[in-house]
Every structure is written in structure tokens, then in C-alpha cells.
Amino acid sequence: MNKIEAKKVNVFYGDKQALFDINMDIPERQVTALIGPSGCGKSTFLRCLNRMNDVIEICKVEGEIKINDYDINQKSTDVVRLREKIGMVFQKPNPFPKTLYENISYGPEIHGMAQSKDELDQIVEDSLKKAALWNEVKDRLNEPGTGLSGGQQQRLCIARAISVKPEVILMDEPCSALDPIATAQIEELIDELKKEHTIVIVTHSMSQAARVSQQTGFFHLGKLIEVGSTDKIFKNPNQQQTQDYITGRFG
């Protein structure tokens, strides 16, 4: 079943077109990887899915993006509700300069998800456990989130994203600032999270895409060149360009 269906998506930064007629379906409770050379529009596409491009004044998004069969790319869409359903993890870990606890509790609080302090404590604990961070930080929940290591910070950001129980989690190169061990931890985590969430991940690492994803989309110069099961894309792509990129002949 498809969670997200993008049809004829065109994105413009001012006069410059960044995405051309993107059609892509994203299946539920699977990991979809977006790969492609730098500047090809992966982040731009990802940010369309939770309307983060709204923040950029010159950015215009055209086309239809259906999530649960509802077109989110209309004026009447309530972006606050949308972003509650679609979480996001950024390339650079960006915890709030507040305590660990407050980092996680912020989302549930602004969305009124907890009736009591106990319930909130429970959400914080569950989110940290799911993000495989609980054991490392359970004794220092009142310390600042910025005091963690890079990998811990990124897992904190993942915990923050899942605290509001989103249906979809968008990740923009979540491991690019991390060492191999932290990367392995996050990849394991992604594998775990896909049981409950639909995940879209942008990555520059072919091996990472191959390891974590079930579906892969290859972007080039603002166009979606090819999309299909990860197995097929990596073993037997239809397009020569895809083959070249995956084997490292360009990009």
C-alpha cells in the first residue's frame, strides 16, 4: 500500500527550476532511499513532503502530493497538523538548547498529547527507548541536549521526531556527520522504526541505501531518473545513468 503519492511535482526557487515532473510512490512501513549527486534535488523533494519549503520565501511547489490520499499541497492544508504526522530529522543534529527531557517533551506538549506529567514522562521514556538512547541518558534527563556526542544528539533528534508518533519520518542525510559506529546504530534504529513508521531517507552512501532501504529513487539534475525496489536498482537498473552512478562512474 502506498503512503505517499507524488504526481507531477515541480519546484522552483525563484526562476530556477529545481525539480521536474516528479512522480513517485512511497510504500507504507518501508524505507525509501533517495540517492543522487549533490544538488540534484533530493532535499528539495524531501522537504516537499512536510511542506518545509514554505519557510523559503522564493520557493514554489506545484503538483499533487497525496499522503493518505489527501493532497497536502493545497492552501487549506494545516501545516501544523501535517508536521505532527510527518516528522523530520536533519543532516546536522539540531537539538534545542534545552534539557534532554524538554527536547523530547516539546512536541507532545505543543500538540496536547499528554494529559498528565506521568503520561509525558512515559512518552519521553518510550521515545528515548525507541531511539536506543534511553540507557545512555536516563540519569541525566535534566542536562542540556547540546552536551551529548554527535551520534547521541542525532538519536535525540530521532527520539524527538518520534515523540509525536508520526506516520512518516523524513531523514535528510542523518548520518553524514557521524562516525561509522554511530552510523551503524542509526541504521539499526531505522530498521527497527520501519515496523511502525514509513521512512524516507536521503543518503549519499550507496551502501547505506542498499543496507537500510527496500525502495530506492535515483535523482539527477532535478529529475527522478529511476525508482524501484532497492534490489533491482542496485543489481539490475533499467537506466544506464543509474548504473553509472551506483558503480561510482560519476557523481
Binding site: N50, M52, V55, E57, V80, R81, L82, R83, E84, G87, M88, F90, K92, N94, P95, F96, P97, K98, Y106, G107, I110, H111, P144, T146, C157, R160, A161, V164
Partner: protein
Amino acid sequence: MINREEFLNKRYKAEKRFQMYGKTAIILALLFLAVFLFKIFSTGYTAFQKTWIIVPINYDPEFMYLDANQKPSMEDLQDSEYFDVGIESFAALDQNANEDQITDIKRMFAFIFEEEIKDHILSNPDDFGKIVEVKLTASDDLDQVFKGNYPRDLPEERRRVNDYQLNIFDRLNSEGKVVSNFNFSFFTNADSREAELAGIASSFMGSLFSILVCLAVSFPVALLAAIYLEEFAPKNRLTDFIEVNINNLAAVPSIVFGLLGLGVLLAVFGLPRSTPLVGGITLSLMTLPTIIIAARASLKAVPPSIREAALAMGASKMQTTLHHTVPLSLPGTLSGTIIGLAQALGETAPLILIGMVAFVNTIPGSPMDPAASLPVQIYIWAESAERGFVEKVSACIMVLLIFLVLMNLAAQMIRHKFEKKWN
């Protein structure tokens, strides 16, 4: 071919020279500061001392127009006259004094000697009918004589203190009857025409109220303006125009704001003249652009990734701003505010224009009462001819400087607290 060795040497030398220039500049600046502070302190510290002369006061019922055979009630003492008590007691300092000389002796004391004599008997009613020693404030000239600031060697006709007075004073001094204490009245008295009585209470309170009004008006307005311009306003011609004009406003000479206060606050709105209320609002026009600029700069310095994080969590624009951006920018905003207020605290020109230069001998109890302000007080005293005001000017500058230092310390503390909390 260039000699590389020599080339390198030249570079190192240039580097050393550059550092030297920097050090010299800093030493020069410190030197100026030291000279300035030394001058202020050495002329000003005596103002914190006050000279008293101890005089046997004769509480003779006859001089008080009271019945000698009956213990007077408090009301009697309260209503009684003390001028004659004073004059008779002064006359007793020199048995042979003639009329004129008694007047000379009287002039050795502050004109409030009657009050002081009265205050003593009111708090010691048992001294009625007795001769007791009472501390009276010395005149400002004798105060200066005692502090060694008075040119005693001038020819007599060019002095306000004559030889007769000096003789009496020296005699009393050698008997240990001249004492000096910490000058509390400098802090508790309002301004006065008599230097020995003049204090900074009125101008201090005036400055304090002005600054509070200024803070209350400019901080919220500036913060909201900065938040709107930085976080919400679309970037277009109009906002560019506003931005340029805010920057221009920061460069407008303060006297222009004084004229604005005069023309608008006093003339159009009819607010009361000479009050910290008007002074504070006028000053806030000056601090407004300073705070807006500081607040915008510190809002800009908040990393965009924090805003993105909040937005991606589903926070609305307003929540993102109020929960994250503004708190993070607050330390910078506060330090900008303090700088603005410190500038305002030292402002004289606009306050003179709105009438805060008037002679005020009462202590304001609210921003609606007439008051002076510390810098204006300095200006007023510096204009006065009496020798006694010279030290007061320096003392007032000291108080102003201490006020400024305290403000900066407060700002630092607030900053520190916030920074600990957010990082």
C-alpha cells in the same frame, strides 16, 4: 632572486610593530582613564565628608519665650522660636563680640541652624533650661576651609570668610569642637542653593524614575518591533525602508528628541513639565532604535536550524518564535538594552529641553513629580559659583559612574544566567 631569509624577517618585524601599535593604544586609553578617575576622585571624595561645629547651646526659657517655672509640653517646644537661642549661644562664643561680629558668627553656620537647635531639644526635652553642646552644620565656606580647599591666603576683602570668622573657627578647631562625619545628607537631601546642604536625592530618584519609564516604554516596543521585522515581516521595499530609517534614527542627535518631547509630549499631550515621566518617554525615543538593532542582531544570530527543528515538530510560527528564537536571543537583546539605557542615563540635552533642569528642592516620590537627573545636576552644579559645589560635581559624577557600573554588572549577571540556561 629575493633573499627569503630577509623577507621572512621583515614579515616578523611588521607583525611585531603591529602588535606594538595595539598595545600602545591600549596603554594610552588606560592612561586617560586613570587620569580622569584620579581627577574625579581626588576632587570629589571630600564631598562625602561633612563638617560640623559643636556649640554650647543655651536653651534658656527666656530666649524661647516660654515659662521658666513650668515644664513645657512637646507642642510648646514645637511652636517655640529658636532664632534667639541660636544668636545668644553664638554671642557666647566671643564675650566681646559686637552686633556685626555676632552676625559674622551666625554666618559660620548653615542657615538651618534653627532647625538643628530645635531638633535637638525635641529629641531631648530634658535639656530645657540647660546649656548643652549641639552639633551644627558648618557653612559651606568653613566646610571648605576645614577640608583645606579654601584659599586662606587671599587678601581678606576678596574672601567670603573674613579673618574674624577664621579666628573663631581656628580656636574652636583647636578645642576639638570642629568634627567631620560621613555626609549622609549628600544622599538624602534634594538640591539646595546652599552647597553644604545640597544633595543628590532628587536627581538620583529623577534618574532612576526616568530610566524605569524609559525601560518600560522602549523595551516592549523595541522587542516587538524587532521580532516582527526579523521573523514575520516580508522582505520588501517597505520593510527595507523601515530598516534604513531605524538605523538613521539611532544616529539622530539626542537634542532633537528633546525638541520632540517638548513639542509633542508637553505641548500636544500636556504632560507635566520637568517630570521623569516625560524625561523617560523622551529618552525612550533615543533608546528604541538601539534596542531594536541589538534585538534584531541577536535574533539573526539564532541558528536557523533551531527554527527548522521547531517548525518540523509542528510548532506554529509564533510558537517557534516565542519558545525558541526569542529566549535564545534574549541575552544579546538585554545587553543591547542596558547599553541603550546607559546612554540614556548619561543624556543631558533632551532633559534640559523638557525642563528637567529646573531647580528642584523636593525629592520626587513618583515619575509624575518634578525632578532633576544626575547628569543635569552635574551641569547645574558645575554652573554654580560657590566653591562648595566644585567637590559636589565630582561626587555626583562618581555616583553616576557607580550607577553605570552597577547597571553593567546587572546586565552581565542576567546574561550569565541566561547563557547557563540555554547552552
